[in-house]
């Protein structure tokens, strides 16, 4: 467990952050939590995969994805949102998002996405 891939979870909703952290740790991932896109950009270097919400105060998830694509094009990005509009999905996929999940999602769904993104068997 101690050596699993590190997943960054960026969500302004503390309940979501905590719940995702609990789930991902049960899947043997290590987890780092960020309350904003800006916090991740300042201190998110050492992660293997980024899971981000779209709607957040300040920089939103799609802007974060574009910024990450420039600085770390190899980092897999999984977008989660409560607004699964087609336009947001298209923008996310066009910007290279690996997966696009609508809240609420099943544990197995995100587990599958993370397995594909990290190659980890969690």
């Amino acid at each position: 467990m101690a050596g699993g891939p590190i997943i960054a979870v960026v969500d302004d909703d503390a309940a979501i952050r905590t719940a995702l952290s609990r789930l991902l740790r049960s899947l043997d991932y290590r987890v780092r939590l960020f309350a904003s896109a800006e916090a991740f950009l300042a201190d998110g270097d050492e992660v293997d995969c980024l899971v981000t919400d779209v709607q957040m105060p300040g920089m939103n998830g799609l802007e974060l994805q574009r910024a990450v694509r420039r600085s770390r094009p190899e980092l897999p990005v999984i977008i989660i949102t409560a607004f699964p509009e087609a336009a947001i999905r298209e923008q996310a996929v066009a910007a290279g998002a690996r997966h696009f999940l609508s809240k609420p999602f099943a544990a197995e769904t995100i587990a599958q996405c993370l397995r594909e993104a990290t190659g980890h068997a969690g």
Binding site: A19, R22, L27, F105, A107
Partner: protein
């Protein structure tokens, strides 16, 4: 005009008073003859002048660059006198309650003549196409005839109305009728009515009202859309946390070495998240029920008239004759005018559609009354009626008897009326027709 010869005779008589009797007799004979001769000449001259004047006015009538009609409304004049003698003064209420009486009167108004412009405007082969009773020209869907009767009854000097008339080829033309009304029963025999073709104006007006309604509806939908999206987000977030925590809880428990501390923390968070979701729903309900209603005091009669204007064309196409009677000096109600207008539109179209296969007159009677503390609007059709076993279900969502109907119209209507603190109901007699009615609290009630 016969004054001049008598005066001349009077002067002559004064002068002759001093003459001998025999001269006097002769003089009187001469004056008498002279007067007769003068009178006859004058009468001839006057007759000439009158004929000349009539010819001139006929030429004006005939050559005027506006449609003019000469009509005989004597039967209406007598009917008004009879009704007033019988103590009936509210003609609107009377004829709304007895549309067949108005229909009979319309069959007794006679078009005596129309001018050349009318023949051209209406695309008729000649005047003969018009001469005869008014009901051949003014279709049953016209609801202005009663307004004319009211204007006559109120001794109005002029009246104007926007009517629609049937052209000889069967097409319909919107027209503005204007006439000076008679001040005595004799005058009803020969009323000159002018008519202006306002078809394109009416079409533009209907498009404007439709566009305004659409804009208001679109704004409303975008507000509802934004609100729904906001609620969805607020509820989805805790739901998402609940699902994730519950799944994590199971995973921690199912491990070869179950981690009870993690599972317990997850279960505790499920409760916290569910509480949060419940609070969102409670806050939303409180917000919606306390939010001030859009729009201030409205004149319900005006809202009804706007609704009628909005669907005038559809009602006409369905062959409905709409009769609207509102009590006078009605108080305003606090309501959203667009929502109430939509309710009225729905009821009008439903009523007209219920009668569209009926052979006889398709009277759609709309009455607006003030009850104790509320206003009551009733829309009565003379359609086939609704079977008693179906009646209790007509307001149910997704219930429809119309082919292709979604079944949401009346459900939304009732919801909307109830959201305004009102009530909505229906009564129907199979074979005789249906009345949908709603009541809304009057302002200050």
């Amino acid at each position: 005009m016969l004054v001049a010869p008598s005066l001349a005779g009077g002067v002559a008589l004064t002068a002759a008073a001093t003459l001998p009797p025999s001269w006097m007799a002769a003089l009187l004979a001469i004056i008498g003859l002279g007067c007769l001769a003068g009178g006859a000449t004058l009468a001839l001259r006057l007759a000439d002048r009158q004929a000349e004047s009539e010819a001139r006015s006929h030429a004006v009538f005939e050559r005027a660059g506006i449609s003019m009609w000469r009509e005989d409304w004597t039967a209406v004049g007598h009917a008004i006198i009879a009704l007033k003698q019988a103590g009936i003064h509210d003609m609107q209420a009377h004829f709304t309650a007895h549309p067949d009486e108005a229909r009979r009167l319309r069959q007794q108004v006679v078009i005596r003549d129309v001018n050349a412009f009318t023949v051209q405007m209406m695309g008729a082969p000649g005047k003969q196409a018009f001469l005869g009773t008014l009901d051949r020209i003014l279709p049953d869907t016209d609801n202005t005839f009663i307004q004319w009767i009211i204007a006559f009854a109120n001794d109005a000097p002029f009246y104007r109305s926007e009517a629609h008339i049937t052209r000889p080829d069967g097409s319909v033309l919107d027209t503005l009728f204007v006439a000076a009304l008679p001040d005595s029963i004799d005058g009803f025999r020969d009323i000159i009515v002018t008519s202006i073709d306002i078809t394109s104006f009416k079409a533009a007006q209907a498009r404007l009202v439709a566009a305004e309604t659409e804009v208001a509806r679109a704004a409303r939908i975008s507000t509802i859309g934004a609100l729904t999206a906001g609620i969805a987000h607020e509820v989805n977030s805790p739901l998402s946390a609940i699902v994730t925590n519950a799944e994590a809880c199971l995973r921690w428990l199912r491990r070869p070495q179950p981690d009870l501390a993690e599972a317990e923390a997850a279960a505790a968070d499920v409760i916290a998240d569910a509480t949060r979701a419940r609070d969102v729903v409670a806050r939303t309900r409180a917000f919606l029920s306390n939010s001030p209603r859009r729009g201030g005091p409205i004149d319900l009669a005006e809202t009804v008239r706007n609704a009628m204007l909005l669907v005038e064309r559809e009602l006409r196409d369905l062959g409905a004759s709409v009769h609207f009677d509102a009590d006078e000096d009605l108080p305003h109600i606090v309501a959203d005018p667009i929502q109430i207008q939509q309710v009225v539109v729905n009821l009008l179209l439903n009523g007209a559609q219920a009668m569209q296969d009926m052979p006889g007159p398709r009277d759609l009677t709309v009455t607006l009354r003030k009850d104790d503390e509320s206003m009551r609007l009733a829309v009565h059709d003379r359609g086939v009626g609704i079977a008693p076993e179906i009646l209790p279900r007509v307001f149910d969502p997704f219930y429809s008897t119309k082919p292709g109907g979604m079944g949401m119209g009346l459900a939304i209507c009732r919801n909307c009326v109830e959201a305004h603190g009102g009530r909505m109901g229906v009564a129907s007699t199979p074979g005789a027709g249906t009345t949908f009615q709603f009541s809304l609290p009057a302002q200050g009630a």
